[in-house]
Amino acid sequence: MGAAMIAGLPLSNRVRDYPESEFRHPLPHEAELTAGVRIEPGRSYGFFTDTTVCIGCKACEVACKEWNNLPADNLGLTGDSYDNTGHLSANTWRHVAFIEQMADRPTEMRPFQSNWLMMSDVCKHCHNPPCMEACPTGALFKTEFDTVVVQQDICNGCGYCVPACPFGVVDLNPLDGKAHKCTLCYDRLKGGLEPACAKSCPTDSIQFGEVADLQQRAAKRLEHLHAVGVPSAYLYGAPDGPGATGGLKYLNAFFLLTDRPEVYNLPEAPTRPSDRVAPSLLSGLAAVAGLAVAAVALFSRRD
């Protein structure tokens, strides 16, 4: 396989082998054709979500629900712009955030020019995943594709992964009592397919690939944006940058943003909860040990 620029996209030369538009059988290593990457165990895969080209179509949300057979969460309107999904949950593994910046309009912007920020949020598949580090059953694990997945046949619904996640991603489903979140389409990756959300994204706002490759692509995109006059662009979740602080190192699913992280409901400097285990345990034990010594003194006093 060789990667080439075909119609402006970094696609495999193999696309030329399949001129037809409908297929009767799954194609081997289909991701080569759709994302220009061959999926092999032992490598790191992730998402690069470039929010500057997101148009808020929610194709990713729908594709995710369809492929993963996830029911709807909320059939009402939230009143929060076009975001009627609201948040990631046990049944919603992609969530498109809509930020309508009204305050800027009268002063800085001409009429009819929109100031929308849209961002398809997802599990970050952290390099050092706090959810996995917290899971006492080993249900949460790192797959051979370096993604983070809950094994449904092992999770006992203790719920400890939920507060552990610094991004509020993983959640319990009250109906089955198990934790659920994005699997980065583990089943599709095993079959050589690009994840459903990335494949369905019409603007390539969601790009799937090998993490190192995506990080390079993102750096190039960033350079380009800075050059054409978007100085506010930055990466969220790139190595040791915002979103990958406090020992998280980097996020396999990272983002290109143009406003401060909080605008997208993301923390600027999350931490790695497991760093607090030892200090906490040792301080508590020291307190009890100190008091036990006091008890020895009290008890050995004759009266």
Binding site: S81, G86, I99, Q113, A134, P136, T137, G138, I154, N156, G157, C158, G159, V162, P163, C165, P166, F167, G168, V169, V170, D171, P174, D176, G177, K178, G229, P231, S232, A233, P242, T245, R260, E262, V263, N265, E268, A269, T271, P273, S274, R276, V277, P279, S280, L281, S283, G284, L285, A287, V288, L291, A292, A294, A295, V296, L298, F299, S300, R302
Partner: protein
């Protein structure tokens, strides 16, 4: 067609130090722990009480406290509440309880819940053996009793070590999450929980000693409980100061009532014991009241921290203020 270029968005990006109060429609950025606070709070309380009961019984035995037999027996028996009732509470709080045994698949040092599972296992085995030897010794002929006491004297040591862990690991269970109020002060919260465990264990056993007519041991245990309360008070001052400087103390209002009981439970016993020291006929009642206040306070400290933590996770402003580079561990 000519598009008007976007105004360059306000300065100080990509990252700025001051948090300007931005949220995403006020929606939470975190999910609160799906624990049933009364259930898990009760477990944390019981774990502290039982773990420390074993520590006190062992210390009294090893230090050869005068007239210690009753205290040692009651401490060993009291500690059995954790393996029994405590375990039931833990399994009950699982959302798929029939898979509780999956906790025993792995041991994971990054997960206080896994650490705690194994501490509870160890505690159950050694405390169970100690209590069983104790009960058996009370029933058999003196020759056998000596052997059984010897067994209990051996098993009580690892039981007490596990007991100390049982009384404190629950703080690191809360601190090792992303919930701001739990994560903010891991060390002082652990000291609070550990000393509160000690206070509750000492208070419960003191009450029992008093009613068994063992005044001097009761007084020593009361002193131990007050010492533990003093440590707890000191640690809580540190925690509160941390919450305030990190700007996350507002979440505590969500648990105002529980916190009030917890505070009464840490301060009132000092006054009650002082009065008991002066009074003659009502001394026993006042001391019992002090013990009960300590137990209630210890329980409410745990549920109060849990409730307030949940609220802090629901408040995006608190989390964003907390998750700033300035707050990162150095």
């Amino acid at each position: 067609m000519n598009f008007i270029p976007l105004p360059s968005p306000s300065a100080a990006r990509p990252v700025s130090d001051a948090y300007d109060g931005t949220t995403y429609y006020g929606r939470p950025a975190l999910k609160p722990a799906p624990f049933e606070n009364s259930v898990v709070g009760s477990y944390i309380f019981l774990a502290g009480l039982c773990g420390v009961a074993q520590v006190i019984a062992t210390v009294a035995d090893v230090a050869r406290a005068p007239r210690r037999e009753g205290l040692v027996r009651r401490g060993r028996l009291l500690s059995m509440l954790a393996p029994t009732l405590g375990s039931v509470l833990l399994v009950y709080d699982l959302h798929t309880p029939k898979r509780f045994y999956n906790m025993l698949r792995i041991a994971r040092p990054t997960s206080p819940m896994s650490i705690g599972t194994w501490i509870l296992m160890g505690f159950s085995i050694f405390s169970g053996a100690t209590a069983a030897a104790q009960v058996a010794a009370d029933w058999v002929r003196p020759g056998w009793a000596r052997l059984l006491h010897g067994i209990a004297r051996t098993t009580q040591v690892p039981a007490a070590v596990a007991g100390a862990g049982l009384g404190t690991y629950t703080a690191s269970l809360l601190s090792s999450t992303s919930t701001p109020l739990w994560a903010a002060a891991p060390k002082s919260l652990a000291v609070q929980f550990g000393s509160s465990s000690m206070a509750s264990g000492a208070a419960a056993l003191a009450m029992a000693e008093r009613h068994a007519g063992s005044r001097s041991l009761a007084r020593k245990l009361d002193t131990l409980a007050l010492a533990a309360l003093a440590v707890e008070l000191g640690a809580s001052v540190v925690s509160e100061a941390t919450y305030r400087t990190r700007g996350i103390s507002a979440a505590e209002d969500a648990a105002a009532d529980t916190r009030t009981i917890a505070q009464i439970g840490t301060i009132a016993p000092f006054a009650l014991q002082m009065l008991a020291g002066k009074g003659k006929r009502s001394a026993g009642i006042l001391s019992d009241l002090a013990s009960l206040a300590i137990l209630a306070g210890s329980f409410c400290l745990r549920t109060g921290v849990m409730e307030a933590g949940d609220e802090s996770a629901r408040r995006p402003q608190d989390y964003f203020r907390f998750a700033k580079p300035g707050n990162l561990p150095k």
